[in-house]
Amino acid sequence: MTIKLKGRCISKGYAEGEALVCRQPIGLNFGVDFETGVITEYNHELCGKSIKDKVLIFPHGKGSTGGSYVVYQLAKNKTGPKAMINLSTETIIAVGAIMAGVPVMDHLEKDPFDVISDGDHVIVDAVQGIVTIDK
């Protein structure tokens, strides 16, 4: 089954990959090992899981404002997500993604948590503003 959803482009670009869905906000500064892309935040839903090469779906960023550089560093190390989808992107994630050229979209026409599951193949076209989900 293929689903197409329109949304808002935060950081322009095109990428596709396997979905990793996280219902908790993510703080990347001090919360991820940028050599491996594994989340290290204590008690976090994704703790111990890798975000490398995923299309990462989460509500919004949180925590320390140094996170923009972390998004950039993850992209340079090729240990970061291929693309990100938020309910509503905040500044920290937005700026890091723009610096690094990582596609980011938010405000999809349907709640991504209702539509996207772990392992779905997701195409993020953050030029046209369309997310395509293959389930």
Partner: protein, 406 residues
């Protein structure tokens, strides 16, 4: 977004590549957040300057900008970093070398090497309703809430972009309508000391995410207690603004804090404070080998209090006691003799540096005791340390005995 003629020329590269790049970031953010225009800002504060955030890629990005002649055009302060320029902490040499590269690059761009998360403790105090572009989540929430300045949660690069252009997009907390409260927290628990305020922030931050909490029942807090409440709200959640009725400038009353909006009410009793405290505690072994205080950086009052609490006792040989502050406060504390008292007892007072941005774990520490909610929140992920969280008295006692007592 509307740009002035000058801003259009900045965007088109008339003032060089760094200003062009800065405008690209600001315009992109402005479009995302549907800002009508850019607004002039009086000051900027850049965070994420630790090697842990910049990495080598970010370091090279900053060095390239400096080489291209980037210069800030408004007072721009620098956040705490991972090295103490006044002493040798025996951290790995490669770490220190790369950390100093970052500081040098930003100083070349004209930033002030304050190296602190509390620029308001060394003379950089935005006035009520002044637009600023500060990063450092604890400084953002403090300047918005306690000083009544207008600031969004800037990232390091967007704060630098504001420093290079003197502007930021007019959206979010720069606008009156976004500064009203969302949820009322009626605090009936008695709060005493920064660890209690930190526990409150830890509980509320987890619940409220990025919305605006309003507190009722907070009575006569010190500036330090408000700093630590804010730092906990901003790290456990993504809070950038809180109001406290009768305490902060935009909340003379509960009604004015909400500005006519409907709101839910949450009761905060001793139980909720205890829950906030538990969330910050990950300690397993009661043996403590590292006690660190000052995240955000200590005020002079906090350092004086620590020197009095030590009361002539010695820090246990296998335990380290590190107090974090900035160069300005350190200088004063030294002149007044507090640093000598702490160092004679076997502790140290660091400047520029802090636990989560530095890597004291390289010295083999395993279990941290602290009264700082932000440090307690980040240390397990950033430093791999187990954490005991409690009052400053408990922390100093554990430095002396080497054990944590609940």
């Amino acid at each position: 977004m509307q740009l002035t003629d000058v801003e259009k020329r900045m965007r088109d590269g008339e003032q060089g590549e760094p200003v062009r790049m800065a405008m690209e970031i600001l315009i992109a953010l402005g479009e995302i957040y549907e800002a009508e225009r850019l607004v002039p800002v009086r000051s900027a504060h850049i965070a994420g300057l630790s090697l842990k955030s910049h990495g080598i890629a970010g370091t090279e990005w900053a060095e390239d900008l400096a080489k291209q002649g980037a210069k800030v055009c408004i007072p721009t302060t620098m956040n705490v970093v991972g090295v103490d320029r006044s002493r040798d902490l025996n951290l790995p040499r490669e770490w220190e070398k790369n950390q100093l590269r970052i500081e040098t690059a930003y100083e070349c761009m004209g930033c002030y090497g304050t190296s602190t998360c509390v620029p308001y403790y060394c003379g950089f105090v935005p006035r009520f309703r002044e637009h600023i572009a500060w990063a450092e989540s604890s400084a953002v929430i403090f300047s918005n809430s306690v000083l009544g300045a207008r600031d969004n949660r800037e990232g390091g690069p967007s704060a630098l972009a504001a420093g290079l252009t003197g502007r930021t997009p007019l959206h979010g907390l720069h606008l009156d309508e976004n500064r009203r409260g969302d949820v009322l927290f009626r605090v009936t628990a008695h709060l005493s000391g920064i660890a209690d305020y930190g526990a409150l922030g830890s509980y509320v931050g987890r619940m409220i995410g990025t919305r605006v909490p309003v507190f009722e029942g907070i009575k006569g807090p010190s500036i330090e207690e408000l700093v630590y409440l804010g730092s906990a709200l901003a790290s456990s959640g993504g809070v950038a603004l809180f109001h406290a009725a009768g305490v902060t400038p935009e909340a003379p009353t509960i009604g004015s804090a909400f500005g006519g909006k409907r709101y839910d009410t949450v009761e905060v009793t001793v139980r909720e404070i205890e829950e906030g405290r538990q969330k910050l505690t990950s300690g397993k072994e009661r043996k403590v080998d590292y006690v660190a205080i000052g995240c955000p950086h200590c005020s002079l009052n906090q350092i004086k209090e620590i020197s009095i609490l030590l009361g002539g006792r010695k820090v246990k040989e296998e335990t380290a006691l590190w107090i974090h502050t900035n160069v300005a406060i350190k200088h004063l504390a030294k002149q007044l003799g507090y640093v000598k008292v702490i160092e004679d007892a076997g502790g140290i007072v660091t400047q520029d540096f802090c636990t989560i941005l530095g890597n004291p774990e390289a010295l083999g520490f395993k279990t941290l005791a602290t009264n700082s909610p932000k440090m307690a929140f980040y240390a397990p992920g950033s430093n791999g340390l187990d954490v005991w969280y409690g009052s400053v008295e408990q922390c100093i006692d554990s430095a002396v005995s080497g054990y944590w007592k609940s």
